[in-house]
């Protein structure tokens, strides 16, 4: 229970500071200064943004469907936060004689649970976009659903290869499986193609550039959240950052060894359990932060796709590649027996 609360606060804090660091990274890439007025180095900017969002006037269009209009952002936020329950943050520690796992729930179908929740994420956008009763919002919602359905397939296929090598659907086991070679037996070494597919699909599922067609402001005003104002808009934007955080955590867990780090067995034998667990959590967070940075890096580097290019990439490139990856992994496992 405590862990759930901690996790919730951590997710929110990291997401809040992602909005700040997004602007800082953008400024760095474009050779600007970025926000630096609120607090030292502009560190209080997320707070100021939050207050601004809440204080703004809230408009619910009279032609909209009120219940669903309010429900849309709520569903988006709930599904964004739900995924974090199955992510293992570190090895289990012993407190007062009890073994405590640093994971909210190690359900034995963890990977599938994540896929399920991710596939539900589209409802918030679709319902919100439809309930706005605005053609731009509807177009954005339709684009979002098309995109998410298309990329979910390739994503699932690339994860299947990981499940085949690990032989387990539990994320805890998948991470534990990668601690061979002194904590360096990461899945990225065996599954480079799968990683690439998963990464691209993660970008598409988060609606991040170059896949931010549902909200492309040059064509659709604001996409699915055109009609939203105040904190409801804030929820939609914020959910994107929470999703980014969770995706980074998933990428780290599945392909970059989770909390495993080089020479971890040496560190384990030289420190006590609590310190070791803390180092593991720190390493995990560092990897996550790197991937969040990577998300931002891509955003300010690569321009947006055109919609037909997006569909072609999803169905004609990524899906066949992921099936090929699955077949190769299967063949490799059989020949190695």
């Amino acid at each position: 229970m405590v862990l759930v609360l901690v996790l919730f606060l951590v997710s929110i804090t990291i997401a809040a500071y992602s909005t700040f660091s997004e602007r800082k990274v953008a400024a760095f890439i474009q050779d600007r200064l970025g926000p630096n007025r609120a607090g030292p180095f502009g560190l209080l900017q997320p707070l100021a943004d939050g207050v601004k969002m809440i204080m703004k006037e809230e408009i619910i269009p009279t032609t909209s469907n009120t219940i669903l209009f309010v429900g849309g952002p709520a569903i988006t936020m709930i599904t964004a936060l739900m995924t974090s329950a199955v992510i293992p943050w570190g090895p289990s520690i012993t407190i007062a004689g009890q073994k405590v796992a640093l994971q909210v729930a190690d359900i034995n179908v963890g990977v599938l649970y994540v896929m399920g929740v991710v596939s539900l994420g589209v409802y918030g956008i679709m319902i919100g976009g439809w309930a706005s009763n605005n053609k731009f919002a509807l177009l954005g919602a339709v684009r979002a659903s098309t995109q998410m359905i298309s990329y979910e397939l390739a994503m699932g296929m690339s994860v299947i290869a990981i499940i085949m090598t690990t032989g387990s659907l539990s994320i805890g086991n998948i991470v534990h499986h990668q601690n061979g070679w002194h904590g360096m037996e990461w899945n990225i070494i065996a599954q480079p193609l799968g990683f690439l597919i998963f990464l691209i699909c993660a970008f598409a599922e988060c609606n991040r550039t170059p896949f931010d067609l549902p909200e492309s402001e040059t064509e659709l005003v604001g996409g699915y959240h055109t009609e939203y104002s105040s904190m409801k808009l804030g929820f939609y934007l914020f959910a994107e950052y929470v999703n980014m955080f969770i995706s980074s955590a998933m990428i780290t867990c599945l392909y970059f060894g989770g909390y495993n780090f080089p020479l971890m067995d040496w560190v384990q034998s030289n420190t006590n359990e609590i310190w070791f667990a803390l180092i593991c959590v720190g390493v995990f967070l560092a990897k996550i932060i790197f991937f969040i940075f990577f998300f931002m890096w891509i955003r300010w580097t690569i321009p947006r796709f055109r919609f037909d290019q997006l569909m072609n990439l999803g169905w004609k490139v990524l899906l066949p590649l992921s099936i090929l990856n699955m077949l190769l992994t299967g063949a490799f496992i059989i020949f190695n027996q």
Partner: protein, 168 residues
């Protein structure tokens, strides 16, 4: 505790599925059906069938219902409509529906687990391991045949769509 959960989930499932049928707005119907799927997934979890529950959510809530919503949005079917069909068609539909329901009830009635307390039912019954072993040993041929049926229907849809484009 178990019983309260079971009854509340069942009531939600039945209520939402009825609402789904009787609601005039197609958009709400889809959302009620979605709620129904979730309560059924909850029932699966109560039987310790986590795999089934999650797959149920991924396939039905995550993929099929999204497509339903998609079509409703595209065709703008959300305005209330009354469906007018001839009396004969309606009668035939009700009859086949009732026959199907009868068949399902009878076949469920005859299973061993029917009416048992969820905690007595084999706890491993819905895990991925058990399910995989059963599917790929005992029911291998029916399973493969269903897959072929699925693939052929998908290929069929693609071919039908291709033809239309060429004709234009």
């Amino acid at each position: 505790m178990t019983e309260i959960l079971f009854y509340s989930l069942s009531i939600i499932a039945i209520a939402t599925s009825l609402l789904m049928i009787f609601h005039k707005n197609a958009m709400y119907s889809v959302l009620f059906l979605l709620a129904c799927f979730f309560s059924i997934a909850g029932l699966f979890v109560m039987l310790n069938a986590q795999f089934l529950a999650v797959v149920h959510i991924i396939v039905y809530a995550g993929a099929i219902m999204v497509l339903f919503l998609y079509v409703i949005m595209f065709l703008n079917m959300s305005t209330p409509i009354t469906i007018r069909k001839s009396k004969l068609v309606m009668f035939a539909a009700v009859l086949t529906g009732l026959m199907m329901a009868f068949l399902l009830v009878v076949s469920v009635w005859q299973t061993q687990a029917f009416g048992q307390h969820p905690e007595i039912v084999d706890q491993n019954i819905g895990l991925a391991k058990t399910l995989g072993k059963v599917l790929f040993n005992e029911y291998l041929i029916p399973f493969e045949l269903t897959s072929i049926l699925f693939i052929s229907s998908m290929v069929g849809v693609v071919i039908f769509n291709k033809k239309e484009v060429e004709d234009e």
